[in-house]
């Protein structure tokens, strides 16, 4: 990089400073901790309408279910795009060249992996009761699935299966929404009785939805990580 272009670097810095000033000035106007909590209050008042002990879950899967669907679609789009990018002209060398991390890690991971899976599934299943849920649990599941790949340096990711999981979970999510539609209710309207708040079997279809979200997130992330690992071959240049 030439000297002259270096000397131009002060503009972004200056304007970043300006941006910081203006943003801070803007947010300083807002009464912190006492914002207009209009919708939040309404949801609070509606109380256990959906039967979810965790109100965030009620928002994520109930009130703003369409957002969640969109977000699943984004993950799906990202995974598909990444697959497209990396498989585009890749030489068909699917084997991974690294030698693994050694005996110690392999053993540790084979111990850790079931535990991680368990934790992941627990977080997913209790999403409607406690902080956590499909995304968080899904990430843990993805990591659990991915660790052996890192440690052993060999493929355990079955892309075929993952495609089925990601596609199927997403499709089921929509189909549950459509099921409500068929019953004459609105799209994505929670079905089944809300049940008693706080119980494991409560909140109608919300736990099911969260399970699907968990599966899908786990599958997508595993697929993404898999794609990246498979393709990380610095030697391949055109």
């Amino acid at each position: 990089m030439s000297r002259s272009s270096r000397s131009m670097e002060w503009t972004p810095l200056l304007f970043s400073g300006g941006l910081a000033f203006f943003l801070f000035a803007l947010f300083a106007v807002i009464p912190f901790g006492d914002t207009a909590m209009k919708v939040g209050t309404m949801i609070h008042q509606q109380g256990g309408e959906l039967g979810a002990a965790n109100l965030v879950t009620a928002v994520v899967l109930g009130y703003r279910g369409l957002d969640t669907l969109g977000e699943l679609a984004i993950l799906f789009a990202a995974a598909t795009s990444a697959g497209l990018v990396l498989s585009n002209t890749r030489q068909r060398t699917r084997s991974i060249k690294n030698k693994g991390l050694g005996e110690l890690f392999e053993s540790a991971i084979s111990l850790l992996m079931p535990l991680l899976l368990l934790v992941g599934v627990y977080i997913v299943l209790h999403g409607h009761l406690t902080p956590g849920g499909g995304f968080q649990g899904g990430v843990v599941i993805a990591v659990a699935l991915f660790l052996p790949t890192l440690a052993r340096g060999e493929m355990v990711i079955n892309h075929h299966l993952i495609q089925w999981i990601e596609g199927g979970a997403g499709a089921l999510f929509i189909l549950i929404g459509v099921a409500a539609l068929i019953q004459g209710a609105a799209f994505l309207q929670p079905l089944m009785a809300a049940g008693e708040v706080g119980r494991f079997l409560s909140a109608g279809t919300l736990p099911v939805l969260y399970l699907l979200v968990g599966l899908k997130v786990g599958a997508e992330l595993a697929a993404l990580l898999g794609h990246l690992v498979e393709d990380d071959e610095p030697g391949v240049q055109q």
């Binding site: 503009t11 972004p12 304007f15 970043s16 300006g18 941006l19 203006f22 803007l26």
Partner: protein, 621 residues
């Protein structure tokens, strides 16, 4: 529904376009087109006979986007239309024969040329018959684009110069667009009468703006200084007779529109307006004089016959505006009459040059000469044409120029008069160059086998020559049409009769002048032939400075004609307008590259950040 003559004319014009599409490509088959143009001419002539009053209102009226669009042909439009259709008839007849076949052999498409011609005529009809500002603009745009099409047909360099025309024309069209929406804003309507009513109360600033937009917007098409650069190259590169058509009438449309807007659409109060240094009338006159002088002397510098003629076309436009700007009876008559006269001799000259190109494949004045012995009819046409262009009796150009000069002197505008005379001087010098370098001197070896052009080509030329002479001797006929045109926009006209104008300070009767002149010629011819002392020799049978001349060293110096004069002019003429155009474009290009640089940044987020911070700053102010 009753169809009146205007509808009939439009219909025939459309049929002409369709016919051109069908049979325009067949060389001789294209004569049907000439017939159709003749038919149009007959209709127009019948309208001229019955003209007067309100004009002919087309039964075709639209109402779109809440505005009504209508067409009406009155004296002014009729006058221009007569010239348009007449020229088209000559030109299409000229094209249809052997010239067209040769054109197609060279890879041109005669069909599209014919279609373009017919489209031009139709769009001009739309423009000339416009009944409100909206139809005026529509006609204006369509005519501009049709002209572009005709210019660009040949491709290559022609397309390049046509694109240059396009940009000038678009600048003009956008000014006109601004003009019509401003006038609309004043009156709430596009109708002429409504706007005239509203324009009485126009503010001073608005009036000046309207004047400026009218003269500049329409003036671009007319080639008024400083917007003239596009015209000569564009017309010169238009294929063959097409240049005759465009040169004869296309750029006059600008004048038509200026007349229409300034005298018909807008109230005449603008004439008294004082702009701080002079009144608009004087300013127009000075622009006109500048338009006479600069292009005329540029024409003199040209070494290509078509370029030379095309540059003259710009200069002659100046005479028309100059005459009309005087706004007295003689000036108006002269300026308006010059439109017709110019169309006739310009068409004749372009056709003659096209004939020369047809036979010799070149229009380079440095590579021609002596063709008079091979192409006498073409020579005769060009002779008549340049006499008309130079404004000498007994051709029609003399009449109109005389009227303009007369008006200038009567108004006491001595400086303007001197300017116009300088222009005429340049005209005479340069048209002589044209005639001399093409037809006089010794014939070139490579042109020994050249023959006269076929009848389909020389006939229109001779007919046009006859027209130039006849309307020169009997200017009363076209003056009758001019009178109708002037009446329809409320301009004054002098008394006139068949032979010329009856004015207080001294009348002009071309019958007398021509009679005297022709008898002089007759006497000279009698002496020349009667004395019988002349001897016919071979042009090569000649000697100079004691040397005998052979075919290889020619006694005909056409190369670098007027070298001494050019040397004199050179310090005064550095192509300032060309430079100006270059500078503007360069500036624009620099700005454009800077702006494009915004999109080519290595880190495009920078612009976003800067804009964001500036906007936030502005919002918190």
């Amino acid at each position: 529904m009753e169809i009146n003559t205007l509808d009939l004319l439009a219909l025939i014009s459309l049929v002409t376009v369709a016919t051109a599409l069908l049979v325009g490509g067949q060389g001789r088959g294209g004569w049907q087109l000439s017939l159709l143009y003749l038919l149009q001419l007959v209709v127009v002539a019948s309208m001229v006979m019955m003209a007067g009053g309100e004009g002919i209102i087309s039964t075709l009226q639209f109402s779109t986007v809440g505005e009504s669009i209508g067409w009406r042909l009155d004296g002014l439009g009729l006058y221009f239309l007569l010239i348009t259709v007449g020229t088209a008839a000559f030109v299409s007849f000229y094209m249809a024969g052997p010239w067209g076949e040769a054109y197609q052999r060279d890879g041109g498409s005669l069909r599209w040329l014919q279609v373009a011609l017919a489209t031009n005529v139709f769009t001009m009809l739309l423009l000339l018959a416009s009944g409100d500002l909206l139809s005026l603009f529509i006609g204006w745009e369509l005519a501009s684009w049709a002209a572009f099409w005709m210019m660009a047909l040949a491709g290559g360099i022609a397309l390049k110069v046509a694109l240059r025309y396009l940009i000038y024309a678009m600048v003009g069209a956008m000014m006109v667009f601004a003009l019509i929406v401003i006038l609309y804003g004043q009156a709430g309507s596009f109708g002429f009468d409504e706007i005239r009513e509203a324009s009485v109360q126009m503010e001073r600033g608005t009036t000046i703006l309207v004047l400026l937009l009218t003269v500049a917007g329409f003036g671009i098409k007319m080639g008024l200084l400083p917007f003239h650069l596009w015209q000569a190259p564009a017309y010169a590169e238009t294929p063959g007779p097409g240049s005759a058509f465009l040169g004869a009438i296309s750029s006059r449309l600008g004048l038509f529109a200026i007349l229409l807007v300034l005298f018909r659409v807008v109230d005449g109060a603008w004439i008294e307006l004082y702009l701080g240094f002079m009144n608009p009338q004087t300013l127009l006159a000075w622009i006109a004089v500048a338009t006479i002088i600069f292009p005329t002397f540029t024409a003199m510098r040209q070494n290509d016959a078509r370029q030379l003629l095309a540059w003259h076309g710009i200069g002659q436009g100046g005479y028309m505006l100059l005459g009309i700007a005087m706004m007295d009876p003689l000036g108006v008559a002269g300026g308006m009459l010059h439109i017709f006269n110019h169309a006739t001799y310009q068409a004749a000259l372009f056709l003659a040059v096209t004939a020369v190109i047809y036979r010799t494949q070149t229009s380079d004045l440095n590579h021609l000469g002596g063709l008079v012995v091979r192409m006498p009819l073409t020579f005769a046409t060009m002779l008549v044409g340049i006499i008309g262009l130079a404004g000498l009796p007994p051709m029609n150009g003399f009449v109109s120029k005389w009227l303009v000069y007369r008006s200038l002197l009567e108004q006491g505008e001595v400086l303007l008069f001197v300017g116009a005379v300088i222009g005429t001087l340049g005209t005479i010098l340069s048209v002589y160059k044209l005639l001399h370098n093409t037809f006089l001197g010794s014939l070139r070896l490579e042109h020994q086998a050249v023959r006269e052009v076929p009848i389909t080509m020389w006939m229109p030329m001779i007919l046009l020559s006859g027209l130039i002479l006849l309307t020169g001797i009997f200017p009363g006929v076209p003056l009758q049409w001019v009178a109708e045109a002037a009446a329809s926009i409320g301009l004054p006209m002098p008394q006139f009769n068949l032979g010329g104008v009856i004015a207080e300070g001294g009348s002009l009767d071309m019958r007398v002048i021509s009679g005297v002149l022709l008898s002089g010629f007759a006497i000279a011819a009698l002496i020349f032939y009667g004395a019988g002392s002349s001897r016919r020799v071979n042009p090569l049978d000649n000697y100079a400075g004691g040397h005998f001349l052979y075919a290889s060293n020619r006694y005909h110096y056409s190369n670098n004609f007027y070298a001494g004069l050019m040397h004199l002019i050179k310090p005064w003429y550095r192509g300032i307008f060309e430079r100006l155009e270059q500078i503007i474009l360069l500036l624009l290009a620099v700005i454009a590259d800077l702006l494009q640089g915004l999109y080519l940044q290595r880190q495009p987020g920078r612009v976003a950040l800067v804009v964001l911070v500036l906007l936030l700053w502005w919002s918190t102010l």
